[in-house]
């Protein structure tokens, strides 16, 4: 029978299927970080058991870490405690930890792919909703709750009902100045922040195929922001090329066997999806959000949709979002002053993002009214950026290259946007208070963020590119 990619991978991991029960699904790889793991370790202790397959779990510290002076102890007490607890737990339970100071440390969704831990055909979970990032390789990857973290620790399995599947095709060629971040913000603005609820989404079409691996990760990363359980892209030559030679990727004879298997991982021609959506790449402009959920996005030259144009039941919360942002109906965002620019997070902190920004800002200066933070996704990205001299470019432009971590993506560590300030951010969530109490977040691509950094206001990057 014809199968979708999700079905192929899912069915290959079912340990037990029984009427009336959720499937018992085998999990190949479990990624953990300091925030959602402590209660799960504690649960094991209470049961008097260890990890069923400790070698299939990898840990890093990312949410609570500072991005300056990482060699010094973490200042904030609770953050330090959570990070220390992770170190202690990993030592006690025999889990590999790429903690602070380790050359592999970084945001959990950045280090998996770059180390060759993330591979096509795998099932992967993490107590973190942006686990969907790893789907870019043609893996089933999704976020889980703390009880489930404990379940995977104890059994290397999860009880899960098979999800519904959706295919989103983006065809044609992207226009100048438009990238992966714009594609996904565009899709979410079309189907809303809840439009993918209950689905696993497969991204397909010629525009998706033409994306690099890192760009594909940006797309899959934000599939959770439309409510989807996860997103994935069938592996192809681009994928294999990226994976080959990475630290934990299969090599030699195993590589050949793996490759032969990976080439079978695609949705069959006549496979049935529960829903199919199609978009034209040429319709996509550089995107920016104006509200407090990722679905509230517009093309950068468009105007903010009117409250009256919203469904009646949603008008009150729509209005509340605009008030929070300090925006009004029908306004254009172009020319609005910006206080902070944050380039980082598991959505856009990889080397290609940093290269794109460096190439754009080379020879330009940041505007006086903006503070610019560039936070690499991992130690390896940081090292690569320095090796390529990007740090010099940033320095000359007045951009600050910091040390790896989640940073200003969430107001949990020291990097917070002050109340009332506007931040153009390459991260994935613009919820109220996400970057700090009363901070105002506008999500955009690294290029659009860089354009705001050099002009000090919301700018259509296409104008600067043409100049």
């Amino acid at each position: 029978m014809a199968k979708t990619l999700v079905e192929k991978i899912w069915d290959a991991h079912v340990v037990k299927r029984e009427e009336g029960f959720p499937d018992i699904l085998y999990i190949d790889t479990h990624l953990i970080h300091e925030v959602t793991s402590p209660q799960a370790f504690d649960g094991l202790r209470k049961r008097g058991i260890g990890l069923f397959r400790p070698k299939q779990t990898v840990a890093t510290a990312d949410h609570n870490v500072p991005t300056l002076n990482q060699h010094l102890p973490i200042k904030e007490e609770l953050s330090r405690y959570q990070v220390d607890m992770l170190t202690k737990n990993c030592a006690e339970f025999g889990v590999e930890l790429y903690g602070l100071g380790h050359p592999f440390q970084g945001i959990v969704h950045v280090i998996g792919p770059e180390l060759g831990i993330t591979l096509p055909g795998k099932t992967m979970v993490c107590g973190d909703s942006h686990t969907s990032t790893h789907g870019a390789f043609g893996a089933i990857a999704f976020g889980i709750g703390t009880s489930q973290v404990e379940q995977v620790f104890a059994t290397q399995c999860l009880q899960q009902s098979k999800p519904k599947t959706m295919k989103i095709e983006v065809n044609g060629e992207l226009r100048k100045g438009v990238g992966a971040k714009d594609i996904i913000l565009y899709i979410i603005s079309k189907i809303s922040a809840a439009g993918g609820t209950g689905y696993f989404v497969e991204f397909a079409g010629s525009a998706i195929r033409s994306l690099s691996m890192e760009a594909r990760m940006t797309v899959c990363n934000m599939s959770i922001e439309m409510g989807a359980r996860g997103g994935l892209i069938a592996p192809d030559e681009t994928t294999f090329e990226y994976v080959k030679g990475r630290k934990f990727a299969p090599a030699g004879e195993e590589w050949d066997k793996a490759l032969a298997y990976w080439k079978t991982l695609y949705s069959d021609e006549d496979a049935k999806f529960d829903a199919v959506l199609t978009y034209d790449a040429a319709d996509i402009a550089p995107m920016i959000t104006y509200g407090t959920n990722p679905g509230m996005g517009i093309g950068i030259a468009d105007h903010i949709p009117a409250t009256a144009a919203q469904p009646e039941t949603e008008q009150a919360s729509y209005k509340k979002a605009l008030d929070y942002m300090g925006f009004a109906d029908d306004e254009s965002l172009l020319g609005k002053p910006v206080d902070y620019v944050f380039i980082g997070s598991c959505t856009n902190s990889r080397i290609e993002d940093l290269r794109a920004v460096a190439e754009f800002v080379k020879g330009k200066q940041k505007a006086d009214n903006v503070e610019v933070w560039i936070v690499p996704g991992s130690k390896q990205v940081e090292a690569q950026a320095i090796a390529e001299g990007l740090d010099k470019v940033f320095e000359a432009s007045g951009f600050q290259l910091r040390e790896p971590g989640c940073s200003a993506c969430l107001g949990m560590n020291e990097d917070k946007i002050p109340a009332g300030k506007y931040c153009v951010s390459t991260s994935n969530r613009n919820f109220e208070g996400r970057q700090g109490p009363n901070a105002r977040t506008m999500l955009a691509s690294p290029l659009t963020a860089a354009a705001a950094a050099v002009t000090g206001k919301i700018t259509d990057v296409r104008e600067l590119l043409e100049a």
Partner: protein, 199 residues
């Protein structure tokens, strides 16, 4: 997880609708690294004044009411997915929550932790509140095997729904983890036949 047997207990009545998880356990109490201790902050902002003195008129501070069953108004547990909400209720000594509607995620989290959410009709819920108003020590009996809940004083009874798998987990004192651990042979068998060893 401990086994759920038949439970007879007086109740704590909380006749408020749409109680969300931010009320059950406010976000600022989520930085802890264990599951214990959340009970102290259950309904924190309803239970304590800004200066940490207890609000005398809140049911949890009122010695008239006690027991292992929390009875609450419609749509209990809406809001965020934090598992801490279920942990807090359990940590405060409750084994059962009764309401006429539960938010989905809360229900799942509760069952995963051995806290039994029982959905009854609006009428039956009203009858419970009425009985407790008459007698604060009124006893309810929850029989999970039979899937019934009974108001002892009047004999009024209603049956409730529960997923058969979850029911067997509760009755046997199994949680999902114990259940899947009991399938270790199958898991090991699966591993032997895995497509790739390096996964």
């Amino acid at each position: 997880m401990k086994k759920f047997e038949t439970l007879s207990s007086s109740v704590v009545p909380l006749s408020i609708e749409n109680i969300d998880t931010d009320q059950i356990i406010p976000a600022r109490f989520l930085k802890a690294t264990t599951r214990e201790g959340f009970g102290e902050n259950l309904f924190r902002d309803w239970r304590y004044n800004g200066d940490n003195t207890p609000k005398a008129d809140f049911v949890l501070n009122d010695p008239t009411y006690s027991g292992k069953i929390l009875v609450a108004g419609k749509n209990f547990g809406c809001g965020s997915s934090r598992e801490h909400a279920a942990w807090a209720i359990q940590d405060a000594g409750f084994d059962v929550v009764i309401s006429s509607f539960f938010a989905d995620i809360f229900k799942g989290n509760a069952l995963n932790n051995g806290l039994l959410p029982i959905q009854v009709s609006d009428e039956f819920l009203a009858a419970i509140f009425a009985q407790v108003a008459k007698d604060p020590k009124a006893t309810l009996t929850v029989n999970l095997e039979e899937q019934t809940v009974t108001i002892e004083a009047t004999g009024a009874q209603e049956s409730f729904e529960i997923n058969p798998y979850k029911k067997s987990c509760l009755i046997n004192g199994y949680d999902d983890i114990d259940f899947v651990r009991s399938q270790t042979d199958l898991i090991e068998e699966f591993e032997k036949n895995k497509v790739f060893k390096f996964y």
